[in-house]
Amino acid sequence: MSGSNSVPIRSAPLNRPMGPRGGPGHRSLEKPKNLRKTLIRLLKYFGPYKLHLVLILITTALSSLAGVAGTYFLKPIINDLTKYIGHKSPDFSSLIRTLFIMGAVYAVGVVSTYVYNRLMLIVSTGTMRNIRIDMFRHMQDLPMRHYDTHTHGELMSLYTNDTDTLREALGRGISQLTTSLFTVCGVFVMMLILSPLLTVLVVVMIIIMTLTIKKIGGQSAKFFSKQQRDLGKINGYIEEMISGQKVIKVFCHEEETIEEFEKLNENLRSSACSAQTFSGILMPIMGNLAYVNYAITAATGAWLVLLGYTDIGTIASFLQYTRSFSHPITMISQQFNTLLGALAGAERIFEMLDLPAEEDDGFVTLVNVEVSPDGTLKETSRKTGVWAWKSPVGDGTYVYTQVKGDVRFNNVTFGYSPDKIVINNISLFAKPGQKIALVGSTGAGKTTITNLLNRFYDIDQGEILYDGIPIKNIRKDDLRRSLAMVLQDTHLFTGTVKDNIRYGKLDATDEEVLRAAKIANADFFISHLPHGYDTMLTGDGANLSQGQRQLIAIARAAVAAPPVLILDEATSSIDTRTEALIESGMNKLMEGRTVFVIAHRLSTVRNAKAIMVMENGEIIERGDHDSLIAERGKYYQLYTGMFELD
């Protein structure tokens, strides 16, 4: 589980129940809370496959009934044969006819089996794809708050564990369940036709079998959920310990770690063993109960033949039927559990899909404009590099305001949770092109200010104006497009260096990418990489140093070239000497832009137009570097704290 960045730490209340809900391989025998609702919702995903489903129903019926019917032919065959035993010139014509019919029935069965499997494959994979895509799309729309309160593991397990069980249930479970049901029904009807008397015996046996399943299944379910809990615990432990393996090494903590591990492992082994035992003995017990049934039926049947109530052919087919009875019944009971588990997973997926998406009541949009000689703005689809806010007036016309980057906070108050205010009645302004610095100790609320500006969170009180427009009126996408952020934790994507820089502007040309890299002073090290700009980055840019990754992130912001730039500890992992080297580039990048710089390394913020010193969610000092130094306040203390020479 990757570490969280600065915001969630404060938003997460202490003692929040953590721990993974279950690591990989998590699979449980749980029941959905609202079966009907979940089922109906799931059925909607089958919408595009209505025809497929109808065909699947027909072909599964054909496939299982063909098997059932085929067995019935044993009766005429055996009876035919018995009739001709010892004949010098037996008449095989009726036997041949029966065999042909049997062959035809079986052929239908084989073809149907193939067809339903093929259709089911299309339906299950397609449905899974659509569910996954829906989940992903919705996830992109979830508010930041959701990500702060849920671990990546929790979200990932929806895609891995829950979709996997669902897929298995859809792929195999449904068709097995239906074929088993059809077979049981078909066999039962045939038995009744062949010999109602013997069927009574079978029914008694079925009751015994069902009771056995219930008893063993109940035990098995109990231990299965214990196994799942234990598995979740040990996987959580493994995840945490392996992630911290280097710390374990440094502290020689191997033995203690192994000791704890063995405890969890033994717990898992014992519960897993009980669970597997019960599920493992179910099959042989059921199978052999069927044999007991077979024996009783054979003996009783033989007796009935002796008494003349029935014929050998009937007994032959009937016995085949008793053999084919137990398997589908066991199947049904097992698949039913899988299905319930899958539905519980589906329910969790739907719960996520039902989470409210980020709210956006914004109506002001960002458009490209041309400035006419008389100063009026004209909307255009051409990429002019000049942007304007387009606000509807109400009578169908629009007002255009050129984007300048004027940002004002008026008496803003905000808390991640209502009882804990993080930003307390803050007012500040940044005129277009100004560099504003926020400094202060960890937890003072610096990052929160930027989170409010790009509306990762909405403010509780006060207002934030952007070029005079309240930001809550601006469409979130357009608002964010007008701001570029370089964050403390740099995240890169799998792909080439070029792709990663281009993330700031998808249609950037190679020249633009190169220019941006030069501004960030990243060009130097990039051209030394094995494949230069085409070097593949994997695992969040694991092959680069933290500082190099930050340079790429700066280049990414540079290529986006928005009017407002937010640098949140953007250079914290770059040593000050390199930082000095890229300073000119950074200055070029900041030129003509409104910039918010967050840093606790004060050398970074010296040349800011205004420096705000924050503490406990309030601005306690503001001014430029010289005036703050002269003031001999908190800023002076922080600044000289670096250089105490005693």
């Binding site: 969280s4 010892g86 062959g103 794809r129 895509i133 930041m144 502290f251 052999n288 003996a299």
Partner: protein
Amino acid sequence: MLKKLLPCLGKYKIYAILAPFSVIMEVALDVLIPLVMAKIINVGINGGGGLPYIIRQGLIMILLACLAMAFGAISGRFTALASTGFASGLRTKIFNKIQDFSFANIDKFSTASLITRLTTDITSAQMAAMTVLRIAVRAPALLILTSAMAVRINASLSVVFLVAVPILALVLAFIIIKAFPRFLVMLGKTDKMNSDLQENLIAIRVVKSFVRRDYENEKFEFSATELQDAQRRAEKLLILNMPCMQLAMYTCMIAVSWLGGKQIVSGNMLTGDLMSFISYTSQILMSLMMISMSFVMLVMSKASLTRISEVLDEIPDINDDEADPELLPQDGSIVFENVSFSYAKDGNNLTLENISLAIKSGETVGIIGGTGSAKTTLVQLIPRLYDVYSGRLIVGGHDVKKYKLKTLRDAVAMVLQKNELFSGTIRDNLRWGDKDASEDEIVEACKVAAAHGFVSSFPNGYDTDLGQGGVNVSGGQKQRLCIARALLKSPKILILDDSTSAVDTATDQSIRQALRGSHRDVTKIIIAQRIASVIDADKIIVLEDGKIDAVGTHEELLNTNRIYKEVYESQQKGVA
């Protein structure tokens, strides 16, 4: 591979032997039942044996079934014992193995991949073990015993199987061989989709702030569709199994009915025998089907088993082989003698080159250098997290290789750049440094690390639960707790690898001051970005590109070293 994995059974080995045995017993008993049934028909009905005979044979059949049931239940229990015992043994073995890994070994596999191997892959290995014990024994046993019975009843009729079984076996084998590579492709696509997803989750702030939702959606849609297609391609073949098997079974039934029927009419076969023969037909072919299914499962788990054995095969490249168990470091002195180091163990690709350096016990040493100048690499050699490539590293008077790893690392406390705290209380985490630490010692260490203040401000103080990965404290607080944890080891050498980067300057200063007071005899090595953090060190090392550029005090370096001067000036600017 099997040879390596089998010992994981440990004390459950006996069950792994008994389980197949009881399966075979169960199958053998089951196979006898249709034979008895044939007797009922042949002797009881057609042969004039009458009711008493039928009842006697009926009871024999029930007895056989009950015995089989008992063996079946026993095999179920033994299988569970063996397969879960195997999984548990395997888990322990891998986990212990990883505990022996050096940093280089861990780097090679990556943390994420080790986690998958220990969780997902083991679960699938357990499934494989169960399949082998349950199906892979039962099916061949059923195949062989049933065939034997069929031959006994009517050898000439068994020719049907002689034709059908090899054909079906070939077809099933063909399907599996064809499907295997496609399954590998599918697994690859699954990995790809999951890694896309994880990347997106980690970088969600970037995605949102650049408004790249549509782009990300498209990317994911592409991988989800690719996965769907790969799945269809792979399973398209596998679903042929069932119809092929049905085709073979039905064809055999018809052939047996026809050929057997003719024999009955001519008096060469009894009706009851034909009936049991038909019973056996479905069993023989069913067992083939089971064999093919278990192959599929084994094949699917093969990838997992391979990944597991890769871990088991890895040789921990740092060990106690040359160690003298009695040897203890005398003091906190450190000497680098012409040390070079390469992550790739390649002399042409050196990360550190010809480092020679002597640090006296109790000295405070600062290390300054640009990003990528190998500062971290240098200090990681001291507790022998990596081995030197060439040259010699002497700690406390002896070559590091002469100490037992535990002895050496107990003497060297290191606070890593990437700090990790573990779930549990603050106290639990601090006790990593010293599991018997008293309350006073804990508080003392926290005071030095400037952590006591914020810890006592928590409602639960030292009993505050940190949550997984220490999510309930801020970055700076985490760093301070990590320093306290290291101090509790009462080390001879303390290494702080950029460990106060998230701590504000005032606190940083107070930590250094406290350290100077309370840990006078401890050699302190401080890697820092800020000159301020090392300004009062006895010795400052300037690293550049894996080489020592200069060593000296602040004043000396300021006057003589260009790099140091530049760094200083870049931080100094503006202080009037």
